[in-house]
Amino acid sequence: MGTLVTGAIVCYLAGALAALLGNDRWGRILGAWGAASGAAISLALGMVALASGSVFSAVFDFPSLTGFALRIDGLSAPFLILTGLVGAASAVYGAGYSAAYTGVYSLRKLGALFNLLLLTLTLQVMADNALTFLLLWEAMSLVAYLLVLTEHREPATIRAANWYIAITHVGFAALLAMFFLLSAGDLSAAFDTLRANAPVLTQRNAIFILALLGFSAKAGLIPLHVWLPMAHPVAPSHVSALLSGVVIKMGVYGFCRIVLDLMGGGSAWWGGLTLALGVASALFGVLYALMEHDLKRLLAYHSVENIGIIFIGIGAGLMFQSYGLMSLAALGFVAALYHTINHACFKGLLFLGAGSVLHATGTRNMEEMGGLIKRMPRTALMFLIGAASISALPPLNGFASEWLIFQTLLGGSHIPEPAVALMIPIAVALLALTGGLAMACFVKAFGITFLAIPRSHAAEQAHESPFSMQAGMGILGLACIGLGLTPFFVVPVLGRALAGLDRLAWETTVFSLTLPLNTPATFGSMSSPLLAAGLLILLGLIPLALWVIGANRRTRVGDTWGCGRIAQTPRMQYTATAFAEPLRRVFAELYRPTKDLSIDFHPESKYFVQSIEYQSEIHPWFEKLLYQPLIGIFHRIADRVRWIQAGWLGLYLTYMLVGLIALLVLAWWTP
């Protein structure tokens, strides 16, 4: 495994160098090659780690940086796998996609930073002490920030990047405090030592809260999610795929590492709080996604939703662990890990698809698209696979992991306290609601974007993506299908990721095509491959049956039935806003939609309308209730304190002198 690690690092660095030094075309291609091969090696690394179950560790001592320690164990492996998968696909995709930036924005920076981001992501899950962890965390955040700023001439990009870096650093501050408490001041102590000392720490609750704060800022959990719908849309699409697919999973990784691994779980309210935040994120994420008609912003809100689902699994697992229901807890964590990998795959695929649409039409606004399925058939098929996966439709991967999470939650009836146990059916109900709403949202996203008639000139002129972009999407599409058809294989393998986590042993199940769950609390079974086979057989049998009964096979092509109207224009179709309108009405209390309607009449007669403009906005609750007050407070403090910065050089020199004298006095006074 050591050679694989070195190989990955070398590939990434080579890719970054090639991107920096090469010319426009070769820098782009070689940079992509470096990233893709490094990612492939990370993927292999993760699979080897899970397959062999062995642990790799290494400690580096650099001249001024002692104690840089790396360790790969079962928990790192799934994250290495998803980094590798999404990283390779994004890299291949980016080779073609970033060609559009030639001469406009710096390709060198894009390629180099992309490779560096993958490098930090790969090393992040291997960090074995607090120092390494924090260093890599900050490096990852900064590189991601720079990547978000790629299109730096757009004002929305700068605003988004500011929010991102601010919230990420709030999280970082929390993590710093948390690690200080956890390691009792010794940041270079290995995680093994921290694990051993954790049970006797006194501030376990504080550590948990800080960890939750810090990691939810990275993962995009409510209420620290506001940067996600701003930052992910403005980044280049292959970077968005990586951000949504991998970077936010580092929050999940960190949380699992600290709370599950190092702290070994804790009181029931830890799990309850995580579960509640997960449910809130899932629900709010999908509800806000429904109202979006910017394709990438919609996908970003869905990332919030799915992170919520992942944390539902983790929260349920923590709750079961605190009540001693170990097999259910293991099921919960495995379900969460499975959903993490699945989400990385289908969200990556969807972002790459959205990038193809953006590349072809020049717009992210769904209301200007339409009919793309005829002009971009392969992209449409890939997007359809991603949309079906995220809507948790059998037999794809989203369904497999959501089924597992439901089964975990069903075990909640075994929690001894009824008041706590009653949380679980509510979580089940809200999870089901988000699943249904996600499907509604993706019918809208796919239907309005790809089906019917083009709604704008840009959509009429759309062209299919170049081969590299199709290949990138194809990799993830195959991964979605593969992960969906093989839960019987993936789940036991992920169970091994929990090996080494205290008391959470996963019972090995007999290999069979179904996925039987035999925990003491619940049993159920589901077989994705048999389901897929059954559906395919039926899909073949039905036309055969039609042929046997001699059904009429004539098909005539005609106009769309529009009550006999003379002609059909693109304006006569449904729009994305109209599609989501029933749900906007149902959840009006949450959305508080404002409506702005302005009608321009013909100058000569009020009976003829020249144009109608309709604008509707939904109430940004989190910004209004949480962030604007906080920002306001900081502005007021800054206003008060401003007098210190008078602008006069002499005053600043006086400050320095006074400070120096104070320090000297202090040094002389304290021995």
């Binding site: 005609g558 039935w561 006999g564 109207r565 003379i566």
Partner: protein, 170 residues
């Protein structure tokens, strides 16, 4: 509960269809294959090509309990794509000429057309008006004309059944 006691007290009020009336006129011979295919289950799409709605009121009576077209397997459908038969009323006005033709084209084969009312055959009282394009058979091929202004619902029913060769025996 008042509803159900009323239902019980009223009972079935459907009147049997007899063979009377001369209002039905076969415009052309319908293919036997079509009649066999559509014989027992017909979807009807009603098209108002500019009528005064007198015929429509009578047609609405067909769905009521007295005339009950469903007992013959006939049904009104919402879309011409679901339809096997177009029930056209009105002199075809200029504005409805293209929609009528489009409705006819939207209907899958095999299909029948029954034109109801004097307006549908001869443009009735609107004959020669500047707003009228022509009778129904100048726009689409018609299989059966049902004359009357407006024709009785029973006549309309007989016209539809005549197209299907299912008229009650004399």
């Amino acid at each position: 509960m008042q509803l159900f006691s009323k239902i019980l007290s009223v009972g079935i009020v459907t009147e049997p269809l007899d063979d009377g009336g001369e209002g039905v006129e076969l415009a052309r011979q319908v293919a036997e294959k079509t009649q066999k295919l559509l014989g027992r289950a017909v979807g009807i799409r009603e098209v108002d090509a500019g009528s005064c709605n007198g015929c429509e009121v009578e047609i609405t009576g067909l769905t009521g309990p007295v005339y009950d077209l469903e007992r013959f397997g006939l049904r009104f459908v919402a879309s011409p794509r679901h339809a096997d038969m177009l029930l056209v009323t009105g002199p075809v006005t200029r504005n409805m000429e293209v929609p009528l033709r489009k409705t006819y084209e939207a209907t899958p084969d095999p299909k029948l057309v029954v034109a109801v009312g004097d307006c549908a055959k001869t443009c009735g009282v609107f004959q020669g008006s500047y707003a009228v394009a022509g009778s129904v058979d100048s726009v689409i091929p018609v299989d059966v004309f049902v004359r009357g202004c407006p024709p009785e619902p029973a006549d309309i029913l007989r016209g539809i059944l005549a197209a299907l060769d299912r008229l009650p025996p004399k």
